[in-house]
Symmetry: C3
Subunit: 375 residues, 3 copies
């Protein structure tokens, strides 16, 4: 069966893409300038460049190759991802410059950190694309991604304006927001647009072990570089160690649980549940949790996410006619929300810093707590 | 059909490779010493090491995997590329040390930046190899690559001696020269050596979607790290942003144009036109162009390169009996030459720095220009 | 033929993995704390992070994908490697903290360098796994890896306690020890456990050219990042250049020799002999050898290793009934031991620093030597 969009795609994609690309170049010509900051020379610059490069690899290689396990769609998905991400990055640079620079202005000055911001928006749209893979043609994907980026930037702007949070908290929020917003946007779009059309499309969902290795590559790159993503604002030992340990536990848990619920008793590692720990712990890193707390969060997130893969996807399909090709809801939204709850609990109990071997502190807290109840 | 060179290769490659390797070790023993510069300790050293590593990954992974899309030749091409690059690097270290150090001397002191120089020469020979892939056996490839490296180093030496340019300009020239020299050398060699023998070899040109994903990996690594290549001498925000935006536009344009000219109306992303923007903008980065100029260059380069892929390759074959397996002429030479012209135009008009929102500057220039005509 | 362990694996892996994971979390809760060193802020921190990331990529991507060339086992081997490495890293963090911190203590403070230590232990267990691939189920692999890590840490502890070497030498020893210990542990385990059961398992040893490209990816990542591994303690120009040149020669030699002994006269590049130069030179880098010495070591190591691949594996199988799936003995143990001998010779002759162009020095040494014999 030839893909449905084959005959007409040639007439549609080039004009749309050329027009958009031309419009972006014109906007860049009138509004965007490189900000050559004197401070960013030599090693300080190099430091920013390495941060930028980590995110760059994650977005284009990691998120771009996540869906290559679909055997009839692997090659296309990687090509479409590249096309969409390259567009989304330009659009995000413009929007981010307009709305999220220090004040509203039509003069945008870009630096490496603005490119990182733009790539995070693109990452969000690639997460959203996971829900509609195999059901859309590239023109739809392109417009879908640009809408997602617009929504994501607006969302960040609203969060910042309403809560009047400083740059710091806002930033760190965005790391988890990226996953949650992307996943919900994608699933919602999939529900609205493909309400009754999904049942005959299952052919493109077949996966394959050889192609699975490509997806494994993408997933592995995300898995390896996730500590860089979580530490995009502030790199310190605590953030790196927490994310690292959470991801290690997450990989073990995802493998094991996927085996537990597999019909054939085989490990199914294509799924991106092994990233769940990184997503969840991203919400918590601001309060620099103790290693064991990060590991527990990783364990719960991977467990939840693997259960979601097994049951949520089919449930969504039969109950709501909502088809989510690569299960972005389980892979990105569930762990993200879990991370928020964990953050809430940590803030309420304030035990995040301590481990058991700082026992006196905990006992003191306990005494304080008892005291409070006595009076 | 077994490859033609199978029976006799065993008798030929080992002696040639061993002799060359032995000769290199002897030359290294008499002439090469590691230069342990005191300044290069700690973080400064680390800074050089990261630069070196970026180029290292590009040469061995990126250029090495570019030709893996050839289904009957994928595995061999990656093995041959490694063999050839590992040899070329040693030969380039020697030649570069003899001819391009501060003065002619037989005592070569190597540092990380010399290894980077050597790798750029090896990259040039890998570009050239693209034109003769599938038509040569490894012994021929080895000698071909060593000749290419010799030619490339001589070329750099001539450029430096004749034009008496300082180290800086010379260096930056080499980034684009690398592509242009490699592509012309490869095509020329292919024309001369395989004049009437190409028609029966088309079997090795078949490509495949699964193998295509490997080539996609190689291309993607080049695409992601190209900003590092263009900034090999001077890393600043302007170089990185220009290359990055040019590559983004280039990826969008290459995808779209390839679809426009595809017989089946399918996207063909194996081709390396998406790198054209990076090649072309490499010639311009010295004048730190505004973002929109870099994007326009990326657009034109990718357009030209994709057209080249579609028409130039067949035209060359039928008109000149010249067969260019992976179309290096379109992928590397055309964008490079376009970049030179863009550089020329930018230097003549001197508008490179300004964007439209610095309008007054342009108007002043215009007034100056009118003044000049009045007097 | 379905894999033998399929029906019962579901009942065994989850309980074992969950129990181990739970135990690790509990131990982390009581004993492990992140050490937020004030010095490790900003660029100094970034420097450590980049070192950590290089090793991270090598362990999880490089060693994890080394065995993907086994066509019926490629996907599983990458999944199992990830599971095992993620567990081994946690166990190694605990053990390393208990035994190899400044003094024996139950309070472990972790920093990035501790994670690097832990990853090196995990790398050692992945090397050992190479010998038992395809003959073990994941539960066995998991326990096997934890035992290997325990043995490796104890070994390091004994070396340090007996020889009372400082941190520095000890550390550098471990880079080569990692390969030798892992290889011998793996082969020994394979001999003891699978004495008479290997003959019917050869089916899983088939390799394939397409899958071979994945293994090529893993090998290439190891090959490219090996200079980072050898310079894990001390990064200087000499270590990087030595390892780099040794690896280049090693790649050429491995390719050529594999062709020489191949039955079909084809290059066989799946084998990891091209890494032999890196392994061997790792034992020598402390004495900062001249480039030609590093290259000679690379040549000999690759030669020895390729011969081992061709003859040692079959010999071991027929003579000792000892089956070594990915020939870890030839790939890691032989070059490592050769490196030790080279180190010994260099120390005895003390010619390591000089090249031929420092002739007077050698002549002086010669004169000294003659003098010694005269008196």
């Amino acid at each position: 069966m030839a893909p449905k969009y084959a005959p007409s795609l040639r007439a549609r994609l080039p004009p749309v893409a050329f027009l958009l690309q031309l419009a972006f170049i014109v906007i860049f010509a009138f509004c965007v300038k490189v900000d050559e900051d004197e401070k960013e020379k030599g090693e300080a610059f190099f430091y920013s460049y390495a941060k930028f490069q980590d995110i760059h690899v994650m977005v284009f290689l990691g998120f771009g190759f996540l869906a290559t396990f679909l055997v009839r769609y692997g090659f296309s998905s990687s090509a479409f991802s590249l096309l969409v991400a390259a567009m989304a990055v330009q659009w995000a640079t413009i929007l981010h410059g307009f709305f999220l620079s220090h004040r509203l202005t039509w003069k945008i000055r870009i630096q490496l950190k603005n490119l990182v911001d733009a790539e995070l928006c693109a990452a969000s749209s690639l997460v959203a694309m996971g829900a509609v893979h195999g059901k859309t043609n590239p023109v739809q994907l392109l417009l879908f991604a640009l809408m997602e980026v617009t929504g994501f930037v607006l969302n960040q702007w609203i969060v910042r304006t309403i809560f009047e949070t400083g740059q710091r908290t806002n930033w760190l929020y965005s790391i988890v927001l990226l996953n949650i917003f992307g996943a919900f946007f994608g699933t919602m779009a999939s529900c609205l647009l493909f309400h009754n059309k999904v049942h005959q499309k299952h052919e493109k969902e077949k996966s394959d072990r050889k192609m699975g290795l490509f997806a494994m590559f993408g997933t592995l790159f995300l898995w390896m570089f996730w500590p860089s993503l979580n530490s995009v604002l502030e790199r310190n030992v605590s953030v790196i160690c927490s994310t690292y340990l959470s991801l290690a536990v997450s990989a073990v848990t995802a493998t094991t649980v996927s085996l537990l619920f597999s019909a054939k008793g085989k490990i199914n590692l294509v799924q991106s549940s092994m990233l769940a720990g990184g997503v969840a712990v991203g919400a918590v890193v601001t309060s620099s949790p103790a290693p064991w707390i990060a590991m527990t969060i990783g364990f719960c997130a991977a467990f939840l996410s693997t259960l979601g893969f097994r049951f949520l996807k089919n449930h969504m399909l039969f109950a709501f006619d909502c088809h989510d090709t690569t299960s972005v809801l389980s892979a990105h939204a569930l762990p993200g929300i879990m991370g928020w709850f964990a953050q809430l609990i940590l803030r309420l109990t304030r035990i995040s810093h301590s481990t058991m071997y700082d026992f006196p502190v905990n006992i003191n807290l306990l005494i304080d707590f008892c005291d409070m109840r006595i009076y």
